[in-house]
Symmetry: D2
Subunit: 151 residues, 4 copies
């Protein structure tokens, strides 16, 4: 499906501002690396601070950047003043997340008025190669008129 045009011309600035309010992204050391209509990418550098017990990046940290990438890709297409909340997501972990950089690439599959389906693919980059390590699908909800939930 072709991606519809953003309803809010300032969508990129809006997502940067919202991302900067996500304390968890700063805590994990994650950064916003791309914003386009229906597509957002977030990167994370593997460090012991985000590891699980075998030294790989924790599934929770992988999920956090993949969920944010999917959610913000949905937000690029939402009207001004609306907020985005995750209803649910599923993540499959295909290979240990390890390497120089973990990159989550979110994109909208279908944007509806109330619900949006987005996916994120997570790649681990090492030695100049990118390996798919995780795939997430998420249902996002457009929230309008609820105090405190605007992006």
């Amino acid at each position: 499906m072709p991606t519809p045009a953003p309803k809010d011309p300032d969508y990129a600035e809006r997502i940067r501002a919202s991302f900067d309010k996500q304390g968890l992204m700063a805590t994990l050391g994650a950064s916003l690396v791309r914003i386009a209509p229906g597509a957002v990418e977030i990167a994370l550098t593997p460090t012991p601070a985000v590891s699980q017990q075998h030294g790989f990046v924790h599934a929770g940290a992988v999920s956090a950047i993949a969920d944010s990438a999917a959610g913000y890709s949905a937000l690029t297409l939402m009207p001004q003043g609306a907020g985005v909340l995750t209803v649910e997501f599923k993540i499959n972990l295909l290979a240990p997340a390890a390497g120089d950089l973990i990159l989550a690439r979110g994109r909208v599959i279908k944007a509806g008025r109330t619900l949006t389906l987005a996916q994120a693919e997570v790649f681990a980059e090492a030695d100049g190669k990118a390996r798919l390590v995780s795939v997430l699908s998420a249902t996002l909800m457009t929230i309008e008129g609820r105090d405190g939930v605007a992006d």
Copy 2:
């Protein structure tokens, strides 16, 4: 289904040692509050460091403690020397995670030789009341004989 007896009598000590190696749990400020056969609980105090953009606990942080609680509940029933990896999980987010404490209660639904299904319920405690905010189901894999993957 009745929970089978742990194969490893030192399961609780083993889970404490593995949890202490999860850098992400320390980074999030999460703590292990209960270990029993087939059941593990992990708590997290909401702070700006684990928040999303509206001030609630980020779905990624909720997922991280719920995934660890489910994974460690599976590990309580695994043989000595085996490691645990998450194959996939799905999480439904029912209400904003906010309050004094976030508690993830993991438990095994079915322990198989290779794969285990576990669930976690996540509660937000505020004003002396606990509210269900999230439900996770996860497939965990028992890993044997792979270097670096033992718990």
Copy 3:
């Protein structure tokens, strides 16, 4: 969470009428065996007509009765005139579905104004014993004011 009271006093009759319109349930030979506030059960007799290639009941048939049980458990709590649609579900298949009877037990976890989370556990009954073979979680949507989507 306690189950809220049904908003529609005729919820049971309404679910029977809706179930009778599901051509697939008749095709599979499934029957409605229990309707209570927030809980609906559907049974299926294993036959070659609903099998997969090894002779077990097909995951699609298991999913069909589990999805309907979850969806109708949600519908018991919806207002008159509203329709129910499945937004998404995830099912874990723990053991082959085989035996004398397959029973899907749906129940509401949280009923919201727009979205409801419901789960279904599926049991295979054989030799007087019931074995858990599958667990489903589903997000259901309350549809109001859309032509042709009322239950």
Copy 4:
């Protein structure tokens, strides 16, 4: 990721034979329309026999063909004598499944020794156009040496 070559040169014939043993596919009126390495497509004609209560194709029937398409796409890459079982799947239902034909396109995302991740996209064709109505992701297990579970 590039799709690896099939280990079994007779994979197409093997899938046709296995599909023909799925009683549910015949009951639903589904047919196998494409078999390629890592990719299988299954079609279904909407009729009242596979409907839910509003006249759309039932989510269970959509799931059945999507699960079979994903599972058989995984089987194309499995060794001779191995059987395939679904461990879990999640399906998002984006739009009502209605039209002249429902087509499920399965493809392998990553084939592992024990576990394979596959996805299926389901399209509804009407008036010469195809509309994406559903997206499924599934974990499939390669079963070797278990009586009665070979494909």
